[in-house]
């Protein structure tokens, strides 16, 4: 006779633990996964990855970059620094299996030992910077603990286009390397990184709100913030976040890659118009240096003024600070041009 006691009927027991677990798994994982896959398509404004960038994604996965770099702007205030809006499901809808052997790349990540990469293509649009950084991260960011990837580079041999050669500071050159040239895989990886940017939401679709916005009153009451009306903007901190990766903490830039700000005639000019314009619109006029991205849409007038004033008064520079109004005026001049 069959026993209905699950602890003396092993068939019944195994059937129940199997059945309940499969049911719960379908409920909580398989079904929501299938639905989110079905109900989302890439945003119309999103640009699909090229073959080159796809190949770069494979390098990205193979080298285990996701162990330290996330690609998700969470809907909380502290993540604002990584993108203009919280990520939505459609941002990831393009992701598919890499090939028959390898699964969908798990790019959202779970650790942020290094910066989030959602918008690294906007934040860091210079391929020269990326190549230097991959070859030896500490040559551009002194405190970085990212691994160096010299195996994505090789020594120049006859027939290599000269334009590809990197200027590596002597202290960071691999022993024996003479002229460092990126391999195909390095170029693919950089192409992928530079493709990373948030697509604009279609008109009419409202971006999710950022939560946990710091309420200034509560913070003041708790004694966390000084009770002065408007906290002064720290130009030095903004410089560290936005400028330092290329122009360096010393303001000296990197020879052959990024121009120095220390002693620069542009920075020290009594008229800061050109300097502010370069920051607002970006700059790519000098062949010997990398591309400077525009910051007009990423920083406020007050923030740009704080950075400019910081740069004009640091490392021995001694030019007068600029005001937010000055930046505002120049921005007004820039806008009509951008609208074209």
């Amino acid at each position: 006779m069959m026993s209905w006691n699950v602890y003396s009927n092993h068939r019944l027991f195994v059937g129940i633990v199997f059945g309940v677990f499969v049911f719960l798994s379908v409920l909580i994982a398989v079904q929501p996964a299938a639905r989110i896959q079905r109900e989302n398509a890439p945003l119309p404004t999103a640009v699909a990855l090229t073959t080159e960038q796809q190949a770069g994604l494979r390098v990205f996965i193979g080298e285990g970059c996701v162990a330290c770099h996330t690609q998700q702007v969470r809907n909380i205030d502290m993540d604002k620094m990584w993108g203009g809006r919280p990520a939505v499901a459609a941002d990831y809808a393009w992701r598919q299996r890499l090939d028959v052997w390898r699964a969908t790349p798990s790019t959202l990540g779970s650790e942020r030992t290094g910066p989030d990469l959602t918008e690294v293509g906007v934040r860091q649009p210079s391929d020269l910077w990326h190549l230097l950084h991959l070859y030896q991260p500490r040559s551009v960011v002194k405190e970085s603990i990212m691994p160096a990837f010299p195996w994505l580079f090789r020594d120049s041999v006859a027939g290599t286009p000269a334009g590809l050669a990197l200027y590596i500071p002597a202290a960071y050159r691999e022993p024996g390397a003479h002229t460092v040239v990126p391999t195909r895989r390095a170029q693919q990886l950089v192409a992928y990184l530079m493709s990373l940017k948030q697509a604009a939401l279609p008109t009419g679709q409202v971006a999710p709100a950022f939560l946990y916005v710091k309420p200034p009153k509560a913070a003041v009451a708790a004694g966390l913030v000084a009770s002065d009306a408007a906290p002064a903007i720290d130009g030095g901190a903004l410089y560290a976040t936005n400028c330092q990766a290329c122009h360096q903490a010393t303001g000296e830039g990197l020879k052959g890659a990024f121009p120095p700000l220390k002693g620069s005639p542009v920075v020290n000019n009594a008229d800061a118009t050109l300097m502010v314009n370069i920051i607002l619109q970006g700059y790519d006029a000098r062949a010997e240096y990398g591309v400077m991205p525009p910051f007009g849409s990423r920083l406020t007038d007050a923030e740009i003024a704080a950075i400019v004033s910081h740069e004009r008064s640091s490392w021995g520079n001694s030019a007068a600070p600029v005001t937010a109004d000055f930046v505002k005026k120049l921005r007004a001049l820039v806008k009509p041009v951008a609208a074209l």
Binding site: F13, V20, G62, A87, R102, A148, F149, Y212, A218
Partner: protein, 622 residues
């Protein structure tokens, strides 16, 4: 039906209604007026939890040191016999004379030696085993010795030994890799070899300790527990060897792939590509079939609680691996939902469940008494199944995954307190009254620490799932600390306790007790340094991000904590080398203690022949 709102929101609402939750699962928090961190209940709770571990370890250490000091000053007062000796020595002559007189009168009897001489005794018949003179070390508390099993199938012993040795090998190799990856946080340019770069070593470390060390150790111990508790031989030794070979092959090939930069997709713990993972899955399927058939052939009416956990864990492990690797729902964010489900279920439904099953056998066995409550075990088992299965998405709080999925995950993460409390109470109540036995054992301290970590680590997981704590700790090194509290503090400590209980009984060869002590203390102190450093550093990192400081500042401020992590990791690694030595010593070293024949057998062998020299001695002395 298609257009009814039920279709869209039916599932979460149904769940919510079933469990009596407020139906506003989809409502987003909008007014989170947060005070300073130290007023957050979750943060305070976390600190209380850490205090438990620190105080527990400190208490243990203090009592050991105190015993050591007492021991080195006056060895004679170390135990009751010593204190008695002391009382006797300090008696005045008068008292002594009175006592002796009274005793002589009371105990007068023939001594039994009237007909023999005064020469030392000879045990020529081998009646007395294990005579050890002067066993008291001044520095170490002598632990109880254990007796070997006399009824084990030697072929099963060989199978279990092979599992445990392979597991220990992967532990040493896997944690060497992990240690080296940790060193790279302190010294990123220590080498520039592609195969040894951090991004490749990290998944090699995690997968090797998961599938190589933990899984093999669990299944190997399962091959002992399941036949034993069902009072029947293992169904198939051959299948046992197959599961060992398949899992080993999976770890070897998976490691080779990762070294070569072939990664499945970067999702944690499923970095092995599917053909390699398939080997592992088939290995577990074979093990499940073996366990199942053994239970089916049991000679007992019911099957013991350990078998529920072991059968449950193997079947769940198979299901979740299959779900993780099937492709049809894994494009777009489907991959992410599956990833959250898989990485959490892997830990909770496979490692934790299996290890708890082993605990239900080895803890009562080493305490020599039954488990405190069968009912609590029933509660813990079924709530584990119901609650744990639903909490995978708590790894993606504030991500673009559906808000209701995140809320369900948070709710059931808190619900996990029920099975955790049930399990903890059950284990601690089984320990109750056995303090002396814990102190006298070299395996029970591992189990006790494992139970403490079980409570702390699991409770910590529940707190970490809350939304506020995600602000501070998500993406920081705090998570790395948490996974080491669980996979190392809970699972590995429990497995070591089980192995130190079982391995000496397989061949009757015990490890050197001082070396077991080294293993225990190095692993514990190393782990504490490791997790404390990363928790403090991770908290500072999260606060730096919340304050909007430049990102590089959070890297710079971690430097001392990463150094401490590497120091803690070094101790943990040393402990593993000692463990490996101990295990090899127990399973392969020296000569196995021969099975002890019952005393009457040796007497019966040839009593006359052995009696003669004694008689001769007696005669000579006259």
């Amino acid at each position: 039906m298609r257009n009814l709102p039920f279709k869209l929101y039916g599932r979460p609402l149904l769940l919510a209604l079933l469990l009596g939750l407020p139906a506003g699962l989809r409502a987003q928090a909008t007014t989170p007026a947060e005070g300073p961190m130290l007023t957050q209940p979750a943060v305070l709770g976390m600190m209380a939890l850490l205090l438990i571990i620190v105080l527990g370890a400190a208490g243990l250490l203090v009592s050991r040191v105190a015993a050591l000091i007492r021991g080195s000053q006056k060895p004679s007062t170390e135990n009751e016999a010593g204190r008695f000796d002391e009382t006797v020595t300090n008696l005045t002559d008068k008292q002594l004379a009175a006592i002796l007189e009274r005793r002589q009168g009371r105990e007068f009897a023939l001594s039994g030696a009237e007909l023999s001489g005064g020469s030392p005794a000879h045990d020529t018949q081998g009646l007395v085993q294990h005579v050890a003179l002067n066993v008291h070390s001044q520095w170490f508390h002598e632990k109880r010795r254990t007796a070997p099993f006399t009824d084990l199938d030697p072929r099963l012993t060989v199978l279990i030994s092979a599992f445990l040795l392979c597991a220990a090998f992967w532990l040493v190799l896997g944690t060497t890799v992990g240690w080296y990856a940790g060193v790279k946080f302190v010294s990123p340019d220590v080498d520039h070899v592609a195969a040894l770069s951090f991004g490749r070593l990290r998944p090699i470390h995690t997968n090797m300790v998961f599938w190589g060390w933990t899984s093999l150790a669990m299944i190997g111990l399962g091959y002992f527990v399941v036949p034993r508790t069902n009072n029947t031989p293992l169904f198939s030794l051959k299948w046992g060897w197959w599961s060992l070979g398949l899992i080993n092959a999976s770890v070897i090939l998976g490691t080779a792939c990762l070294l070569a930069g072939i990664n499945n997709g970067g999702g944690e713990y499923r970095e092995y590509i599917w053909p390699v993972a398939l080997l592992f899955a088939v290995g577990v399927i074979v093990a499940f079939a073996n366990f199942y058939q053994t239970v089916a052939h049991r000679t007992t009416e019911e099957f013991y609680i350990s078998n529920w956990y072991i059968l449950g864990a193997t079947i769940w492990g198979i299901v979740l691996t299959v779900i993780a690797y099937l492709p049809w729902y894994q494009n777009g964010l489907g991959e992410t939902i599956t990833q959250g489900y898989y990485m959490h279920m892997g830990v909770g439904m496979w490692f934790m469940t299996f290890t708890l099953g082993l605990m239900y056998y080895f803890l009562p066995m080493s305490l020599n008494k039954p488990i405190y409550s069968y009912s609590l075990g029933v509660l813990a088992f079924w709530t584990q199944l119901l609650f744990y299965s639903l909490i995978g998405t708590h790894h993606y709080i504030f991500s673009p995954l559906p808000w209701w999925l995140q809320t369900v995950a948070i709710v059931f993460s808190v619900g996990m307190i029920i099975p955790v409390l049930a399990g903890t109470i059950n284990f601690l109540m089984t320990f109750r009254g056995s303090r002396k036995r814990v102190g006298d054992s070299y395996s029970l301290p591992f189990l006790l620490m494992g139970v403490l970590f079980y409570f702390v680590g699991s409770f910590q997981g529940s707190l970490q799932a809350l939304r506020y704590t995600n602000l501070v700790w998500h993406f920081t090194d705090f998570n790395v600390a948490h996974s080491h509290v669980t996979m190392y503090g809970i699972v590995s400590f429990m497995l070591w306790g089980c192995i130190y209980t079982l391995a000496p009984k397989l061949r009757g060869r015990e490890p050197r007790q001082a070396l077991v002590g080294v293993h225990f203390w190095f692993a514990l102190v190393g782990l504490l340094a490791y997790v404390m450093a990363l928790m403090i550093g991770g908290t500072l990192k999260g606060m730096s991000w919340m304050a909007g400081e430049p990102f590089m500042q959070s890297v710079v401020l971690m430097a001392p904590y990463w150094l401490w992590r590497a120091i803690g990791g070094t101790f943990m690694l040393l402990a593993h080398f000692v463990f490996f030595y101990n295990l090899v010593d127990m399973l392969l070293g020296g000569k196995a203690v021969p099975q002890v024949a019952p005393a009457q057998d040796s007497l019966a062998q040839n009593p006359l022949k052995q009696a003669v020299p004694q008689a001769h001695d007696v005669l000579e002395r006259i």
